[in-house]
């Protein structure tokens, strides 16, 4: 009956008007219900991501989400363990024959979705594509330019030849392998057509979720499907966890809410060190900041522990260099700088910047710090301003969206900025961040730092393939950076994972990968 009829009896609603409302209502309900069938809950691991992966073709996957997804679909010559160290995956052995020749032996057990074994010809085709000149250029072509020739010795063995020694190259072997016929072809846009040699294959790929299905070879595993929900809003991710609609959210929640989450019986919280380093960077063309004593003073003026305790709730460890203490290249001699405001004031006086004004109560000088609109980074920026204010530095904050921020720091239009390095694996990050050859657009030396001693060390380390000798060179690099302070290293944020209590054996990977999902088990009778 028409709603108007109920309210105003004498008026009779026309049947055509009534039917329009009814048909519209039914249509909307039916359409919103038109979704693909869900797999059984007890065999499905459900997690939420903030952003969708951009592509499933490993040759073009450079964003973190595409790489995490690729970890399930593809196999690569090397992979990474939970501590961020490299380990062989498709390769059973990788050895330097000489400083310009790398020999790789493959496992024979790896297969593509069509059950064909992965051979050296497939690997060759993938790396030939990456170093070649395809119509659609890959963003990582330069990485493979030192590779001059690839030779297949047998179906399981191949050799890479280089134009010059390249000690860092092995860390680039983590790119997923496609079958030869796909690797020689153009970019694969349809994710369902991508044929990988990983544990899973793409089952569904929609605007709101991606579903992966385990391949034929492990029916005994609890996780047969992985369903990645794309949930933009942080509160919605949280509420979905509370309602047991998700099994995992990793790192993409506000840390303030984590304590509260621990009160819910259906959830559990894990934490682990993360492969990231927060830093404060300086512009070396600035007349104030090129003074080393000013940079040292700023370093002493920051109470890192207070910030870590209050903003990160203690979920961070102090940083002495870019690398984490777990890295084999970490220089154990380095110590993080203690909070020492008196020393900071003394250094600023010595640098020729005394307090100003008739009563010496006005700031010594003003600086501008640029930051992104990321809420945590913005809070940290304000905390840093407060700390520097205590020693007489007026730090003004300017926040902007990522595009504008990156353009400004790349062009050198920023005196100071705070940012995080994430996802780096080896010590070659130093060359990218501090070599005088890496000033934008050629790298990320955005502060225009230049030191011939450091350049020399970085070039020597690049061509050194012997681990001990490389370690010694990078020890010196870290010491030099520590003394010259192109950056002030602040802390390494810890990662966290909020899990549904039905999930067992989940392990957080230092680089944020989700590889352990494949091996988790579910508690019986706790499917929701």
């Amino acid at each position: 009956m028409c709603l108007i009829n109920v309210l105003f009896k004498p008026y009779r609603c026309k049947s055509s008007q009534l039917s329009i409302f009814v048909i519209l209502g039914i249509l909307i309900t039916i359409l919103s219900g038109c979704t693909q069938k869900s797999p059984p809950l007890e065999r499905t691991f459900r997690l939420a991501w903030e952003n969708a992966p951009k592509i499933a073709d490993p040759r073009y996957a450079i964003d973190a989400d595409s790489q995490y997804l690729g970890d399930f679909i593809h196999c690569s010559l090397i992979s990474f363990d939970p501590q961020g160290g490299s380990k062989n995956r498709l390769a059973s052995e990788i050895k330097w024959i000489d400083s310009k020749t790398l020999e790789i032996t493959l496992r024979t057990s790896m297969r593509f979705s069509n059950q064909r074994p992965v051979t050296a010809e497939d690997v060759k085709a993938n790396y030939e594509f990456l170093r070649g000149d395809p119509a659609d250029p890959t963003p990582i072509k330069s990485t493979f330019s030192p590779l001059t020739k690839i030779e297949v010795l047998s179906p399981e063995k191949l050799r890479f030849y280089f134009s010059e020694p390249n000690g860092d190259f092995v860390s680039n072997l983590s790119i997923g392998i496609l079958p030869k016929e796909q690797a020689e072809g153009p970019k694969i846009i349809d994710p369902k057509k991508v044929m990988g040699c990983g544990d899973f294959e793409v089952d569904q790929w929609t605007v709101s979720h991606i579903q992966l299905k385990r391949k034929w070879d492990a029916p005994q595993k609890d996780v047969q499907f992985i369903r990645i929900e794309l949930v933009k809003d942080e509160n919605t991710r949280l509420l979905k966890l509370r309602n047991s609609e998700l099994d995992l959210v990793q790192n993409s929640l506000n840390r303030d809410q984590l304590k509260k989450l621990q009160e819910y019986k259906n959830l559990k919280l894990l934490k682990s060190p993360g492969l990231n380093t927060a830093y404060l960077a300086f512009q070396f063309e600035d007349p104030i900041l090129k003074n080393r004593k000013v940079r040292q003073a700023i370093s002493y003026a920051i109470d890192r522990k207070k910030i870590m305790d209050h903003i990160f709730h203690g979920w961070a460890i102090p940083a002495a260099t870019i690398l984490l203490p777990a890295s084999p290249f970490y220089n154990q001699k380095l110590k993080w700088v203690d909070y020492h405001p008196e020393k900071a004031k003394r250094l600023l006086d010595e640098a020729g910047f005394p307090m100003k004004g008739p009563h010496q109560k006005e700031p010594r000088f003003a600086l501008k710090l640029k930051t992104t609109t990321n809420p945590t980074r913005l809070i940290v920026a304000h905390a840093l301003a407060e700390e520097l204010n205590q020693v007489g530095i007026d730090l003004q904050i300017e926040s902007m969206d990522w595009g504008k921020f990156k353009e400004d720091v790349d062009k050198g239009n920023a005196q100071m900025w705070n940012l995080n390095w994430v996802g780096f694996k080896g010590p070659d990050i130093y060359r990218y961040a501090f070599s005088s050859r890496s000033i934008p657009p050629h790298g990320a030396n955005r502060g225009r730092f230049s030191d011939p001693r450091l350049d020399q060390l970085l070039e020597s380390a690049k061509i050194e393939v012997n681990f001990e000798r490389r370690k010694k060179l990078y020890d010196q690099v870290q010491e030099l950076v520590d003394s010259e302070l192109p950056y002030i290293f602040l802390w390494h944020e810890e990662q966290f994972a909020v899990l549904n209590s039905r999930v067992n054996n989940y392990e957080i990977y230092m680089d944020g990968r989700l590889s352990s999902i494949a091996d988790v088990s579910f508690s019986p009778n706790q499917t929701k």
């Binding site: 709603l3 108007i4 105003f8 009896k9 004498p10 008026y11 409302f21 519209l24 209502g25 249509l27 909307i28 309900t29 039916i30 359409l31 919103s32 219900g33 979704t35 869900s38 952003n51 951009k54 592509i55 073009y60 450079i62 964003d63 119509a135 659609d136 250029p137 890959t138 963003p139 990582i140 072509k141 330069s142 990485t143 970019k187 846009i189 929609t206 605007v207 709101s208 979720h209 929900e229 794309l230 949930v231 933009k232 809003d233 919605t236 509420l239 979905k240 509370r242 309602n243 609609e245 969206d401 990522w402 595009g403 504008k404 990156k406 353009e407 400004d408 990218y432 657009p441 050629h442």
Partner: protein
């Protein structure tokens, strides 16, 4: 009528063309490089230049805009720079969820607001009128990003009746519809009430009453038809706004509509997607306005006569 329709459809061309050119120019003035999003932080400048060349981003702005406009004329909205897929395909897969939500929200809004506004006008100055207006004030005052999580807490977490978010079944449309409709209902109730009150004191109403037409007859046969013009205008505008994306509601309820598509595209400086979405929005708005005008024809014979 046919000439009128043709004339209105011809208006679409210059308006849409101006929108495309204006947006194309403006988006290129926003700082930030789409190649940074495509190539990532560790790509070399050489690789970035190759990508720029391949995508035509190294060409002068005027040439880029000309190429894009020519493409639009041929029905090609280009390909996403980041997702590598045709823009029409991206908009197409998001259009259905957006239309679903827009239709359901406007349907609920009409079903609730028109009777409530009419009742409020009829019972002007009574407790019922006060209650209706008070409720609508609450609706206007509650922002979606706050109301959305509240609805989820009540209906999904505490009562367990509906899913938290996502487009995963018939029940999933209920909460975003409620959240969207709250503010729309608030506006439409007030507009309906005011419009009804205006017409209730017109001469033709007095004439009808003096002729002996009963109160309900006066209301529905005379007042409703005249008040409908204003109400239709507001519904048309509200529907236009709904079709062109409701970013906050889509984000809170994880609803895969065009609002989030354009928000993401702006963030990634994905020029063709932003241009394509704005072009689609302009068409949707123009079409909604045209439909609203056609509804005027249907409602008011005076407009029909004037158009002839």
């Amino acid at each position: 009528m046919r000439t009128y329709l043709l004339k209105r459809l011809l208006y679409f061309i210059p308006i849409s063309f101006s929108v495309v050119v204006l947006v194309s120019v403006m988006i290129h003035f926003i700082p930030g490089d789409p190649v940074d999003h495509i190539a990532g932080d560790f790509a070399s400048e050489k690789d970035k230049n190759l990508i720029r060349q391949k995508l035509g981003l190294d060409q002068p702005l005027s040439k880029q805009i000309l190429n894009y406009t020519l493409g639009v004329v041929h029905g090609d909205l280009g390909r996403s720079l980041v997702l590598h897929r045709p823009v029409t395909e991206l908009i197409g897969e998001r259009a259905l969820p957006t239309l679903e939500l827009a239709f359901s929200a406007i349907l609920l809004t009409c079903l609730v607001s028109i009777p409530l506004g009419a009742l409020s006008a009829l019972k002007n100055g009574t407790l019922l009128d006060f209650l209706c207006m008070g409720t609508s004030l609450v609706g206007i005052s509650m922002p979606n990003f706050w109301l959305g999580p509240l609805l989820i807490l009540l209906f999904s977490i505490h009562l367990g009746w509906l899913p938290v978010a996502g487009r995963s079944g018939p029940g999933s449309i209920v909460l975003p519809t409620l959240a969207l409709s709250s503010s729309l209902v608030a506006v439409l109730v007030r507009v309906t009430r005011t419009s009804f009150l205006e017409h209730l004191h017109e001469d033709y109403v007095r004439t009808a009453r003096s002729k002996g037409v009963n109160e309900w007859g006066v209301f529905f046969k005379h007042v409703l038809k005249n008040a409908a013009i204003t109400i239709t205008t507001v519904i048309g505008l509200q529907f236009g706004a709904l079709v062109t994306g409701t970013i906050i509601t889509e984000k809170v309820f994880d609803w895969p509509g065009v609002g989030t598509l354009i928000a993401e595209a702006i963030d990634r400086r994905d020029y063709p997607v932003v241009q394509g979405c704005v072009f689609a929005f302009s068409l949707a708005f123009l079409l909604t306005n045209l439909i609203t005008d056609l509804v005027y024809f249907w409602i008011d014979p005076r407009i029909r006569v004037n158009a002839k």
